[in-house]
Structure formats: structure tokens, C-alpha cells
Amino acid sequence: MSAQATGPARGRKLITGVIGADTHIVGSRILSMALEEAGFEIVALGAITPAEDFVKAAIETAADGIMVSSLYGQGELDCRGFRDLFIEAGLEDMLIYVGGNLVVGKQDWTDVERRFLEMGFDRAFPPNTRADQVIEVLNADFAVRSAGRRIAE
């Protein structure tokens, strides 16, 4: 049986969606399905979602975390200032992940990860990430959040 939400992660509300002009919906949809089955509550914004729509949905639904997908390579442009939008909306502590094929071309992952962490994402996930891995990290991060830390080591 696949990974499940545990402890403080159980029942958390997550927004999923594909940012920018990106139409790659399959990964986000499968991820949403898996997270739902694992015990999270999912609000799926689908493909081609402007950055602002994530913030709007987070406010409207009082979400606990954001799962941004970007596959088509232009995520490096689309994701700039994403954290700022949440800060402006007073949601500076929102847990924000990004995953997919984040940049154009086959680039060194540690370098890509650094760029996205610098942009303010709590975590960035490389290609070939499976839902089970994401669930485990979510469990860990929600666990330390009750202890006041931002993300688990």
C-alpha cells in the first residue's frame, strides 16, 4: 500500500496546479489523486494557472500548502516573485513546493534546486519524483511546523 499522510499532516489542505502557460496536466493530476488518496484535501487548479490564482485559491480555501508544477521549462521565468505574492497577501509562512522539469534543458540538479530555493520555495523536486516521496516529505514538514520550524532537515 502506498504512503499515507501521518500525524499533523493528516487532512491538510493543499493547492495543486501548473503555473504559467504550461499545459502539462498529467503529473499534477496524478499527484493530486495520490495526495487525496493519502488523506490530504486537494484543491486542483489544473493547467495554465497564473501565479496570482494560486494566492487567491490559498486565501479562499485557507490552504496549508501549495504544490506548484512546472514542466515546460519556462518555470524559471514563471516562478520569479511567487513567494512575494504570498508575503504581500500576508501568507509569508505558506509551505510552498515546486516540482517538475523546472528549467530549460538537462541541467545540473543541485544548481537548479539552489535557484528555486533562492526564489523562496521551501522545496524543489527534480524530474522523476514520485508521489510517495512527496507524501513522506509533507509528513515530515508538517510535523516540524507544529514545533515552529519551517521545514524538516
Binding site: 502557460a21 498529467v26 496524478i30 495554465i48 538537462k106 524530474p127 522523476n128
Partner: protein, 495 residues
């Protein structure tokens, strides 16, 4: 961002009918005014330029020649964010990749008519010293500058712009000297957009097809092409072919007579060969019935369009097999991917290498055809029994008008595609792979497949569920999405 749909003044009642000359002239004026480079489009000059090109730089002629000679041409994808990078890329694909057809893939902002963002992306790319865009901002550069791409390479060039908004990109591309354009109203709107209506998507492509016919009236035959791959995610041949027929009828209605049909590989030798044959025959059958017996509809086979393995060595097998499948299936061309596919847009080198691997695979396929195999015959016949009931129902629903029928059929789920991002599609149809590696229909949604056909699909899929020890249900579809991206340890465990 500019308006996606045509302005009200030129908005005809929606139908499959040919756009009248005067209305089309007004539509073009409006369209070309949407971005400065539109003013550079000069039809007379463009027609003269196309006529000045040798036949081997005209994609229509090249496809016809390949068909006559029984060849399978190679074509990569490829687009970078600046003119310099794009020139270098196209030269590499020509010189090192021996591509028979050279591509210009547009970036996703251009596809969505966000030309200012594309402009910013060029600046960012120049600053970063690498492409920050996933394609070439064709509209921003405009036809005069883009013509340098055509002049740089002595091969036919095609615009690849996965979009439902091709009106300005099409004008610019054709005026620049591209002789091919990939895209269609039904296929791309259902798979590349979230909120655009199917109607508007079809209208946009009616414009492009009408433009193609305008060139034809002036003596220039351009190659239009339908992207039957849709969401690229386990599309069974029948669904691809249904959309091919609908889009081909729509294009023919605007006067297009050179219309390529793309089919994503299922990666099954027999299913792909059967699909390639069935596609061309069924499209011809419906075009002929509709009075367009004179259309040339060559089939292009596409390297695996779903998720790729993360191991280059594994990916190399998909690249090579992609050439084998296209050639054995009798496709007129194959569109390639590379060993970098799972990670990102390939470097020119990786792209060229995949072209060479594919070309060698085509050579190795010799003149082998499997049309005599009983299994081939069974599959081909099955595809016919899947496709005709759907298409017939679509035509019926439109009371003879395929455009109208298409909208109604999409609303009713009679026309449906798997994994669609478009909110107007039901996207209830769900495919999965059976125990023999064929793509089958797991859930038909509301598509009117015959009962016996569905029973057959179910039986084959139940066999797989039993073999894999999983429940018969959605999990079969999800694991089929991942399948090719799995490690070899999982695909073939050690004895």
C-alpha cells in the same frame, strides 16, 4: 496579451463552410494588426519567395516525393529563445542530424499569444547566455528576420507551435518561408488549453487552413499537419484517428489538400503499423465521402510521446525503436525525440544524435512490412470498428456540419480524449496497456464504441490486471502512464 478569438465584426456563424474571400480579407487585416511584425507580412512577396524555393525546400513536395519513393523521412523538434541559438540549432540538426525536415518550435508564451512575455524571455536568454524560453519567439522576430532561418538550411522547414491560437504565428511562419505548419483545432484545443472553447480553437485553425488555401490559390502548396498525439499520454490509435478525421474534414472545408496526419507511437510493433495504415485509409474514406478525394494525407509517426525513462541507455532503445516502428509501419516521416527527453529540451548534439540513431534504425528496417500478419489484420480491422461509430455519430450530431457536430459531440462526451487539461472536455475516456503491450480502452466514458469492441478491450485489460495482481481499475491507467519511465529493474526484474 492579445485577444485569442477573432473580433465580432468578422465572426461568422460557426460552421465548417469555407470562409468567404471578403470576410477572410477583413479577418487577416484585424489579425495582422495585433502585433507590430504583422505589418511585415506581404502575401505577394511571400508567394514569390515560396515560388523561388526549389522543390526540395517545399514540405508538400518533399512529403509527396517520400510517399512515392516509399521513404521514411526524419524530423526533429527544436526551438531556442534567440535567433542566434535557433540558427545554430537548425544548422546542427541539418548538418549533424541529417534531418530531412527542419523544425522551428515556438516558445510557450508565443503559443499563448503572450508576445510581450516572449520578448522579455529573449532578453532574459541573452542575459543568461542560455535559452530561458522553451522555443523560438517567431512572432516577435517577425517574418523578415525569421526568413534567415529558411535561408540558413537547404531543407524544408516546418513550424511546430502547439497552440490553439495559430493565426499570427501561421501568417508569420508562412510569410517567412516555412512550408509546413503543425496544429489543428480539435486536437490542440482539447490538449493544449484549459479554458478556450473548442469552437474558438476550431475557428482559429479554420483561419490558418483558409490561409493555406489562399497560398494554394496563388500556386503555392503548403503542408498542413494534424497533431494526432493530443495529450501524448497513451492515446489509443482510434482516438487519434477520430480527431484526425474531424480535423482533416475541417481543413478540407477551407480548401487544404496537403494534410499530414501525425500518430503517436504506442510502442507496439503491430498496433503502430496497423494504426498507420488505418489512419490514412480512414481519413481518405471520410474525405472522399465528403467530396475531397483529391487530398494528400501522408502519415507521420511520432517517437513515444508519454513519459520517458530517466536513463539515457534505456531512452536510446526508445529512440531506435521509434525509427523501426515508423519505417516498418510505412510512415512517410518520423518525428524524433532524444535521450534527454525525460529531463529537458535536448542540446543540439543530443537532438542530432537521436536523429542519426533513428535514421540508422530506418535503414535497418529495410522494406519490411507486416501487413500480411493475421494479428496486424485483426488490429487494423478493430481500429476501423472503433473509429467509424464515433465519427458517424459526430457527423450525425452536426446535421451534416462537421464543425457543429464536433462541438456537440465534445459537450456530450461522444468525442473525448484522455488526460485533457481543457475544462470543456469530459476527459472520462481512460486508456491502459494490456498484457501484450497494446493500448486499450479501460473506461470509454460516453464515447459510443460498439459493445463487442469494449468487451474485447476489457478482456485484454483484465488479463493484465490478473498478471500484475492489481485491481481492474484506474490504477491500470496510472501505471500505464508511468510504465516507460520505470527503471529496467522494475520492467524486467532479474531472473
Amino acid at each position: 496579451m492579445s485577444d485569442a478569438a477573432p473580433a465580432e465584426t468578422t465572426r461568422l456563424p460557426f460552421s465548417a463552410a469555407r470562409i468567404p474571400d471578403d470576410v477572410f480579407a477583413a479577418m487577416r487585416r484585424e489579425n495582422l494588426a495585433r502585433w507590430p511584425t504583422g505589418a511585415e507580412v506581404d502575401l505577394d512577396e511571400a508567394v514569390d519567395f515560396h515560388k523561388s524555393l526549389p522543390a526540395h525546400k517545399n514540405l508538400s513536395a518533399v512529403m509527396r516525393k517520400a510517399d512515392a519513393e516509399g521513404r521514411c523521412l526524419t524530423q526533429p523538434r527544436g526551438g531556442f529563445g534567440t535567433l542566434e541559438l535557433q540558427l545554430e540549432l537548425m544548422r546542427a540538426l541539418d548538418r549533424d542530424g541529417l534531418a530531412d525536415i527542419v523544425p522551428t518550435t515556438t516558445d510557450s508564451y508565443t503559443r499563448n499569444e503572450q508576445w510581450e512575455r516572449a520578448e522579455a524571455g529573449i532578453a532574459e536568454s541573452e542575459k543568461a547566455g542560455r535559452s530561458m524560453l522553451n522555443g523560438f519567439p517567431l512572432v516577435f522576430y517577425g517574418p523578415r528576420t525569421a526568413r534567415r532561418l529558411i535561408e540558413a538550411v537547404d531543407k524544408p522547414a516546418i513550424v511546430l507551435s502547439g497552440t490553439s491560437m495559430p493565426r499570427l504565428t501561421g501568417e508569420v511562419g508562412f510569410a517567412a518561408g516555412f512550408s509546413g505548419y503543425l496544429g489543428s483545432g480539435l486536437a490542440y484545443t482539447t490538449s493544449y488549453t484549459k479554458t478556450l472553447s473548442i469552437e474558438d480553437g476550431i475557428r482559429n485553425y479554420q483561419y490558418l487552413d483558409r490561409l493555406t488555401a489562399l497560398y494554394r490559390e496563388r500556386g503555392v502548396e503548403l503542408h498542413r499537419r494534424q497533431p494526432g498525439f493530443l495529450t501524448g499520454t497513451n492515446i489509443p490509435p482510434c482516438i487519434a484517428i477520430v480527431t484526425a478525421i474531424v480535423d482533416a474534414l475541417l481543413a478540407a472545408g477551407q480548401g487544404v489538400r496537403n494534410y499530414g496526419l501525425e500518430l503517436a507511437q504506442t510502442l507496439h510493433l503491430v498496433q503502430d503499423a496497423a494504426a498507420i495504415r488505418a489512419c490514412r485509409e480512414l481519413v481518405q474514406e471520410y474525405l472522399t465521402k465528403a467530396g475531397y478525394a483529391d487530398a494528400f494525407t501522408p502519415v507521420t509517426s511520432l517517437h513515444w510521446m508519454g513519459a520517458w525513462p530517466y536513463d539515457d541507455a534505456q531512452a536510446a532503445a526508445l529512440v531506435a525503436y521509434g525509427g523501426t516502428l515508423a519505417a516498418v509501419g510505412g510512415a512517410i516521416s518520423v518525428t524524433t525525440k532524444s535521450t534527454h527527453e525525460a529531463y529537458g529540451i535536448p542540446t543540439p548534439e543530443a537532438n542530432a544524435e537521436a536523429l542519426r540513431t533513428t535514421r540508422m534504425a530506418i535503414y535497418l528496417a529495410r522494406r519490411i512490412r507486416i501487413d500480411d500478419m493475421p494479428e496486424f489484420r485483426r488490429e487494423k480491422e478493430l481500429i476501423g470498428r472503433e473509429v467509424r461509430p464515433i465519427v458517424d455519430r459526430v457527423l450525425e450530431m452536426g446535421d451534416g456540419d462537421v464543425a457543429v457536430g464536433t462541438i456537440r459531440a465534445c459537450e456530450a462526451g461522444v468525442l473525448d480524449i484522455p488526460w485533457s487539461p481543457n475544462r470543456q472536455m469530459k476527459s472520462r475516456v481512460l486508456p491502459a496497456r494490456d498484457a501484450d503491450g497494446y493500448l486499450r480502452i479501460l473506461q470509454p466514458g460516453d464515447m459510443p464504441f460498439p459493445k463487442d469492441v469494449l468487451e474485447y478491450h476489457e478482456e485484454r485489460l483484465r488479463e493484465r490486471a490478473a498478471r500484475d495482481g492489481v485491481a481492474f481499475g484506474r490504477e491500470l491507467a496510472v501505471s500505464s502512464v508511468y510504465e516507460m519511465s520505470e527503471t529496467l529493474e522494475k520492467l524486467i526484474p532479474a531472473g
